[in-house]
């Protein structure tokens, strides 16, 4: 069903009302950047001001831009930035049935004939059939002549495009002064105007990263699936005329057209080979930045795929951020946890996320309210990341930080010292962020009279040793487990008994606990996920090889059902695809869920 759009007459009335509002507004205060004795800003600074307007909805004066949507809804530009709908790359989007056309220079300043040609494969839009199939409310962008600076300014202010048509009324009508408008228009002209480095007429160059210290098995677990993907893509005969013809079949059935549109190979990808270099990092992490810069200078790449190191990802994360290079799904348990950074897309927050899960689980336990909790933390990279995730989340709930006892590297917790802690403090729960060494501690706790009812440990930090938790300790040991768990027959039966088919009941995924505790298998699965997401992103980019577009396209991706994780979800600006973490107990039958995938 198609939701209708405003009639032309209504729109003109709205536009007239809008103009009246503009006329009645008080005279705008002079902007700060051009009216003083300060030296004129450089062209780069002016572009930055335009970029801020586009991305954040902030005027050069520091005030938010003001706008109207739906004819009469006044909105702050900060809640309705240009980048919200047109996305950071300016290549546009379709969301909630609303089609947002591109607003980058190359598209604005040439006539738009997006839907008149069957060769829409290289437009940034979804094919019209798909739009129509998916949308309950959409307005297909019309053909229009090239914009001039004046007609573009008019479009931004009044919502009338260069063909004289009224745009969809979800497009904000911005209240901008002439000098502010000039900044925004200049920025739009520069936006996604040239392909990003690493793209030539024949090749899209990628790199991956391996540091020394990574075992040969782990290195291969990442490199082999990645190289296989690149090789298979390059060997695929995408120029096979039968294949192209099959995609252009003029079928009378809407569903057939939809299938053709969905499976159509992007001509941009078809015409280019992919290349993959492996950047080897040697020595201390402090020296990696120099090495990365040198690799990049010699061979600019479009994006970094995966990558694996021993330790923190921070040096590579910062390198990518500073050079605006996307890094898709590095294999790391130590990502940078940030709300604002843009260029690295992680599979999860790693150990930090397990700490988060533990805090959310304990916060929901009513019987632990105001009870004492003790946190034992191994002074290791793993222990610190787990503890940080726990403490930051725990404090976010307004909880007082628990007493933390640091276990220095090599230090063993003795039965005597543990006995003393338990007898004196009588904690209701213990968090034990330790590696395989934790097994001995759990054994010691099992025989204690003052044993707390819950001891939380990290399954990832325990690794394969979690499989050897014996029955005695299983009953009080809870594990953070950031991977998928197969449904029990009982769970499946309950789901099937309900008439409601939901995303979680459509299929039953099978996960292997043994495989998930094996780092090498996990890396291999994570790399497979990378190739799945990369492949669909390359097609969805539709020949628009701008780095921000790669991240925009993944951000607008549907949630994914993949191996290893219960669910991967995306969203504009979201940078950690797997967001859940089960709390489980080990039993004879396998893992028993003690929480949902996501705990609030």
């Amino acid at each position: 069903m198609r939701i209708p759009i405003r009639s032309g007459q209504g729109n003109y009335i709205s536009a007239a009302a809008f103009c009246l509002v503009v006329l009645l507004l008080p005279v705008w205060p002079p902007t700060s950047y051009g009216a003083t004795d300060k030296p004129s800003p450089s062209s780069e600074e002016l572009l930055k001001l335009g970029e801020r307007m586009y991305r954040e909805g902030i005027l050069p004066s520091g005030e938010p831009m003001n706008a109207f949507v739906k004819g009469d809804l006044p909105v702050p530009g900060t809640a309705f930035t240009c980048a919200s709908c047109h996305l950071r790359s300016g290549l546009g989007s379709i969301e909630g049935g609303v089609v947002t056309p591109p607003t980058n220079g190359p598209y604005l300043f040439k006539p738009f004939k997006g839907y008149s040609s069957p060769r829409y494969v290289n437009t940034p839009f979804l094919p019209p059939q798909l739009v129509k199939y998916n949308s309950q409310y959409y307005q297909k962008p019309h053909n229009r002549p090239v914009y001039t600076d004046e007609s573009l300014a008019n479009a931004l202010r009044s919502g009338i495009d260069s063909a004289g048509r009224v745009m969809n009324d979800v497009m904000p009508r911005y209240l901008l002064e002439d000098d502010e408008m000039k900044l925004l228009v200049s920025y739009l002209k520069s936006l996604s105007s040239e392909f990003s480095p690493g793209v030539t007429d024949t090749t899209i160059r990628f790199a991956t990263i391996v540091s020394d210290g990574v075992s040969p098995e782990e290195r291969n677990a990442m490199l082999v699936p990645l190289e296989n993907y690149i090789r298979n893509k390059n060997q695929a005969d995408v120029h096979d005329p039968r294949m192209i013809r099959s995609n252009q079949v003029r079928s009378t059935g809407a569903r057939s057209r939809l299938m053709a549109a969905v499976t159509m190979t992007s001509l941009g990808v078809a015409n280019r080979k992919l290349s993959l270099s492996c950047w080897e990092l040697k020595g201390a992490p402090e020296t990696w930045r120099g090495q990365l810069e040198e690799y990049y200078r010699k061979e600019p790449v479009f994006a970094i795929l995966g990558g694996i190191t021993r330790g923190e990802w921070q040096p590579i994360h910062q390198f990518c951020e500073d050079n605006r290079i996307p890094n898709i799904f590095p294999i790391t348990d130590f990502p940078v946890v940030s709300q604002d950074d843009w260029y690295t897309l992680y599979l999860s927050k790693g150990y930090y996320q397990e700490g988060e899960g533990a805090a959310r689980f304990l916060n929901g336990k009513e019987d632990l309210k105001d009870k004492r909790i003790i946190q034992f933390v191994r002074d290791s990279r793993e222990g610190r990341a787990l503890s940080r995730g726990f403490l930051e989340t725990w404090r976010g709930f307004g909880q007082k930080a628990p007493e933390t006892i640091t276990l220095k590297a090599g230090m063993k917790l003795t039965a005597k010292s543990l006995q003393r802690e338990l007898a004196q403090k009588k904690p209701a729960a213990i968090i034990l962020w330790d590696g395989p060494e934790a097994l001995k501690t759990l054994e010691m706790v099992a025989v204690e009279k003052n044993r707390p009812s819950i001891i939380l440990v990290s399954s990832t930090y325990l690794g394969k040793s979690m499989l050897s938790l014996n029955e005695r300790v299983q009953k009080f040991t809870y594990l953070t487990y950031p991977y998928g768990i197969s449904q029990t027959p009982e769970e499946r039966a309950v789901q099937l008994a309900t008439k409601e088919i939901t995303s979680s009941s459509m299929g039953s995924k099978v996960f292997s606990m043994e495989a998930n505790t094996d780092a090498t298998i996990r890396i291999s699965l994570q790399t497979q996920i990378l190739t799945i997401i990369l492949h669909s992103a390359l097609l969805d980019m539709r020949g628009n090889y701008y780095r921000d577009n790669l991240l925009d396209v993944i951000g607008m991706d549907m949630d994914q059902d993949v191996p290893l994780y219960e669910r991967l979800s995306f969203g504009p600006g979201q940078r950690y695809a797997s967001k859940g973490c089960y709390i489980v107990q080990l039993a004879k039958t396998g893992l028993v869920k003690k929480s949902g995938w996501v705990i609030h």
Binding site: K70, D559, H600
Partner: protein, 190 residues
């Protein structure tokens, strides 16, 4: 020849009728229906991290519901601006109407994300943004005949519970503020 002409005329007449019908349908800005819904007994979590018994919340007072998510780029901000404008109009009586936004991205929408979202729209008491487990959110979506398997295929929907007879006004599509206020007035909310 005459028969052929008649047939062509008939087809042309049907085509005109179809075009006219289609154009008429296009004049509507949104689709409005009256529905009866039965609420699921699930516990969700609001922006303050407090547990909320959904069924009770739906029965408390005049209620308006929408489905949104924190990082949505296009339609959720418009729905939320409508809520914000309504609250502004209600002024100090903002709590007389319970506004409820329900997350369709529970993985990402933690109470912290919900709180920051509401702050962006200068929400007042009386507007709750709820999250929960995916299965509970699914149940709520089903109850409103609004189920989507994936947040990226969502659509604009506003549900207004009439305080008089408890029926729900289902509005499919995006409204302007005057239209939204008018719908609220029709059921006596304003």
């Amino acid at each position: 020849m005459k028969k052929a002409l008649t047939l062509i005329q008939l087809l042309a007449f049907i085509a005109v009728l179809l075009v006219g019908f289609s154009a008429g349908a296009d004049d509507r800005k949104y689709r409005r229906t009256i529905e009866n819904y039965s609420m699921p007994d699930v516990v969700l979590v609001n922006q303050n991290g407090a547990k909320v018994r959904f069924k009770e919340l739906m029965q408390s007072k005049p209620v308006i519901v929408d489905f949104i998510f924190g990082t949505c780029t296009t339609i959720c901000p418009i729905l939320s601006v409508s809520f914000a404008n309504l609250q502004q109009k209600l002024g100090s009586n903002s709590q007389k109407v319970q506004l409820v936004s329900i997350s369709i991205d529970p993985e990402n929408d933690t109470p912290k994300v919900l709180k920051e979202y509401l702050k962006r729209y200068r929400s007042k008491p009386g507007w709750d943004f709820l999250t929960g487990t995916r299965s509970d959110i699914d149940k709520v979506m089903y109850a409103f005949n609004a189920y989507i398997p994936n947040k990226m295929s969502h659509f604009p929907l506003t549900l207004i519970r009439s305080p008089g007879d408890g029926k729900w006004i289902r509005i499919f599509g995006l409204m302007g503020s005057a239209e939204f206020i008018s719908e609220c007035q029709k059921v006596g909310i304003l």
